[in-house]
């Protein structure tokens, strides 16, 4: 842990040490002091020892908090003038994106680069996938190039699990079909925690297409595991009754979005996928915007200092009105910033290798 803080707050600590000409012993004590000042949470700190990050459902509260705390320390790096630390120098991160994505792919790429890892982007249009190669063969070929981490986005649920079984490299799920999008839920939680200082006991509303949403699933797992209550609402065709069984407790389904938003501390609005509209889950965008879009008057029902989030990209005037999207309660851009920190944390935790390795890295910087 100490080694980690040397890295995260490295320049400051080392600068201080040099200035004050402290001995190594005192330096360690200074780092210890920093650790003690980390945000306090009610959960025991655990380490994160998994090979892959495939979903939130299988994570314990301790593991989630550990990732969030790690992400918090990485947030500072992006605020510096030189936005780079050598933590993952010499490591290779492959971004394997089978589904178009600008935001998430860029976020993972920048996260890798700020940790000094080499990031390689592969998209189906310029890879052998378009020549009929199976996911398995693609994975085996990538594996032969010894990457330290593979980030995968795929339109089919379970594709990252398929990869994880075959590859020695850690796999990060950057969204698989309607299954999970763990880093999105982590960045949403980091954003909520930043503004509300806690997650336990909060009421969070999730509005929109729950059925097809991996963001909704990951958020429901994460928020209920950390003790929040989640209310979801949307058209009946997109909020199946069986959803209530997704988690043991803390999840409620509402027919009207007003009932879900009532008293909410945070409102997460999901994107309506226009491309899915041919399946006719609701009659028209117009009707959707009227009955399920988020309007300023809805926020009067929420808690006084409620925050609004959206995983993006937004459909203005459909699921969210521009007044809200651009208003003071909207944290849509904070989410993007926190996304970077969360992805740095995840890449760091998964591809750091042994701890001794990182310690050595820190030593070499002296």
């Amino acid at each position: 842990m100490a080694a980690f803080f040397i890295l995260a707050l490295g320049p400051w600590v080392f600068g201080l040490c040099k200035k004050l000409d402290l001995t190594r012993v005192v330096r360690v004590a200074a780092v210890q002091l920093l650790i003690d000042q980390r945000p306090k949470t009610q959960f025991m700190h655990t380490t994160f020892e998994r090979k892959d990050l495939l979903g939130i459902r299988e994570l314990s509260a301790g593991e989630i908090v550990h990732i969030l705390d790690t992400a918090e320390t990485f947030r500072d790096i992006s605020r510096r003038q030189v936005k780079k630390v050598p933590t993952l120098r010499g490591r290779t991160v492959i971004n394997l994106f089978f589904e178009p994505s600008t935001r998430t792919r860029t976020s993972f790429e920048i996260a890798a680069k700020r940790l000094s890892a080499d990031a390689v982007n592969i998209t189906p249009s310029n890879s052998s996938v378009s020549k009929g190669e199976t996911l398995l063969d693609t994975a085996r070929n990538l594996e032969a190039m010894a990457p330290d981490c593979i980030v995968i986005r795929h339109s089919m649920a379970g594709a990252p699990h398929h990869l994880a079984r075959m590859c020695n490299a850690p796999i990060v799920n950057a969204g698989d079909g309607a299954h999970e999008h763990p880093t999105q839920a982590l960045l949403d939680a980091l954003t909520i925690r930043e503004h509300k200082k806690k997650i336990e006991g909060l009421k969070v509303a999730i509005i929109g297409d729950i059925l097809h949403s991996r963001v909704a699933r990951s958020n429901i797992y994460l928020l209920t595991r950390l003790g929040a209550t989640v209310s979801v609402a949307g058209p009946g065709t997109l909020v199946p009754a069986e959803f209530v069984g997704l988690v043991e407790q803390g999840l409620r389904l509402e027919k009207r979005i007003e009932d879900a938003i009532e008293g909410a501390d945070a409102v997460i609005v999901l994107r309506i996928q226009r491309e899915r509209q041919d399946a006719a889950f609701f009659p028209s965008m117009r009707e959707y915007a009227i009955h399920y879009g988020l309007h300023p008057e809805h926020l009067k029902l929420a808690a006084p200092d409620a925050i609004v989030m959206h995983p993006g990209p937004i459909n203005r005037g459909i699921e969210i009105s521009s007044e809200i999207a651009d208003g003071s309660t909207s944290l849509i851009l904070d989410q993007v910033t926190n996304g970077l920190a969360v992805r740095m944390a995840v890449l760091y935790l998964l591809s750091r290798g042994s701890r001794a390795d990182v310690d050595e890295d820190a030593e070499s910087r002296k």
């Binding site: 795929h154 649920a157 379970g158 699990h161 309607a178 991996r214 199946p240």
Partner: protein
């Protein structure tokens, strides 16, 4: 040539026999059941079956043998080898081959390949519609003359109530049962697993139970309208079982089968996205599994059929959405059926009834499914106590797509006799009977 299966325990529900008897086979036919004390006929070959159950040969109403056209998955010879290793003396091959078995030429080819393999009896099932496309009726009469025992568009339902009605009416003229794969496509489109809590957790599109139930109810209504013989394949839902129960109470000619994986596993097995848990109908939730067990207990379910569906490992190594539906099942069915006997869900007689007596009756297989004199000498010899572990690598099938690899089983077919010929003998048969003999003489 005479063969005596000596000292076994004969279970033949068709004759209501359930007792220690010797079974005499002569020239490929059953000569009769003899008392153990009766002197052995002259010049007879003896197969000792001490401590074993001697049953009429098991009949599987539902297998996919992939030949012609997909011989890389299975051939009639490899499928038949897997069948006899699993205790099945007769298999009925679904018509969704390439080309589809929708004409007498393909039917004759399958019959001949079955005869060439000289293992299990292979009876083809013809397509209901040309190409299995659901548009025009196939030549059922000509196919029947060539050897089909039923018609089905399995893999797909017969689409539209109007087409199903025509199929039932036309098949009635040739006394052929129509076998339907119940699944309303407008409800099941795009689905890859049972719709419910687990499909929501896994983010996989669901095949709702209602898709099967709607079609099963439709088919039962049409069976009443037409008076034809209807057989519902691989029932997996509470509502479909209930529809069959009511149809039977109303005296309709409706029968149904279930597959072992549907009572053994639930949709939770899909959790790891293992494509060997992907089949159609899908693994259902425990609520439906209970209805299946109840249906077996109360007699609503007539038959156990494997829905043996071989696929190459390359095809199953795709993403869950992309992988084909189906698993192999010929060699695991008896072990999984014995689970039910050992748990006390069904009796041994009921097991034999569902695997031999009823299937032979449903497809009107003359002189099969019983050990009555002059029946074909198809015999399955079972050891209910045999403990073994299924190793898919050792399967006789060409394919390896089974979710039961490594599963411990209790109960197996240890010898299979088809037309008086011993076509499968458990590698440890001698040791098993010796042990049983010693146990018996110690008593």
């Amino acid at each position: 040539m005479k063969v005596l299966i000596a000292n076994g325990y004969v279970v033949d529900p068709a004759q209501q026999v359930n007792t220690g008897k010797n079974l005499l086979i002569e020239d490929g036919r059953i000569a009769g059941l003899l008392d153990r004390a009766e002197p052995r006929p002259e010049g007879v070959e003896v197969l000792d079956a001490t401590g074993l159950v001697v049953a009429p040969g098991f009949v599987d109403l539902h297998v996919h043998l992939r030949e012609p056209g997909q011989e890389y998955k299975e051939t009639i010879a490899t499928g038949a080898a897997a069948a006899v290793a699993g205790g099945w003396t007769t298999v009925c091959a679904m018509p969704n081959t390439d080309p589809v078995n929708d004409n007498p030429a393909v039917t004759r080819f399958i019959v001949e390949q079955g005869q060439r393999a000289k293992l299990a009896n292979v009876f083809p099932i013809g397509a209901v519609t040309k190409g299995g496309c659901g548009k025009e009726l196939a030549e059922m009469g000509e196919m029947k003359a060539a050897g089909i025992v039923a018609v089905s568009d399995d893999g797909n339902p017969v689409p539209g109530a109007g087409m199903m009605r025509r199929a039932l009416e036309y098949a009635r003229g040739f006394d052929l049962p129509v076998v339907d794969h119940c699944q309303d496509p407008s409800l099941s489109k795009g689905g890859v697993m049972h719709e419910g809590r687990w499909s929501l957790i896994l983010g996989l599109r669901g095949l709702p139970a209602a898709a099967e139930e709607v079609d099963a109810v439709r088919d039962c209504v049409l069976a009443r309208l037409t008076g034809a013989r209807l057989h519902l394949a691989h029932m997996s839902t509470r509502g479909a079982i209930e529809a069959v129960r009511q149809a039977k109470q109303a005296g309709l000619q409706v029968t149904c089968e279930i597959a072992p994986h549907h009572w053994t596993l639930t949709d939770q097995a899909v959790e790891s996205y293992d494509t060997n848990t992907k089949m159609s109908p899908p693994l259902r939730s425990s609520e439906h599994v209970e209805a299946l067990l109840e249906g077996m207990r109360d007699g609503t379910i007539d038959a156990i059929a494997t829905d043996h569906a071989p696929h190459h490992s390359d095809e199953k190594a795709l993403e869950f959405d992309e992988a084909p539906f189906g698993i192999i099942g010929l060699e695991t069915a008896i072990g999984l059926a014995f689970d039910l006997v050992h748990q006390g869900t069904i009796s041994l007689e009921r097991l034999v009834e569902m695997c031999a007596t009823n299937p032979a009756r449903i497809f009107s297989l003359t002189d099969r499914g019983s050990l009555a004199p002059n029946a074909h000498a198809d015999v399955t010899i079972l050891d209910p106590a045999c403990e073994w572990v299924f190793d898919v690598a050792a399967s006789k099938s060409k394919s390896r797509n089974s979710p039961f690899h490594g599963r411990a089983m209790k109960g197996a077919a240890v010898a299979t006799i088809v037309g008086g010929r011993l076509v499968y003998l458990h590698p440890d048969y001698g040791r098993i009977t010796q042990l049983k003999y010693r146990e018996a003489s110690a008593k």
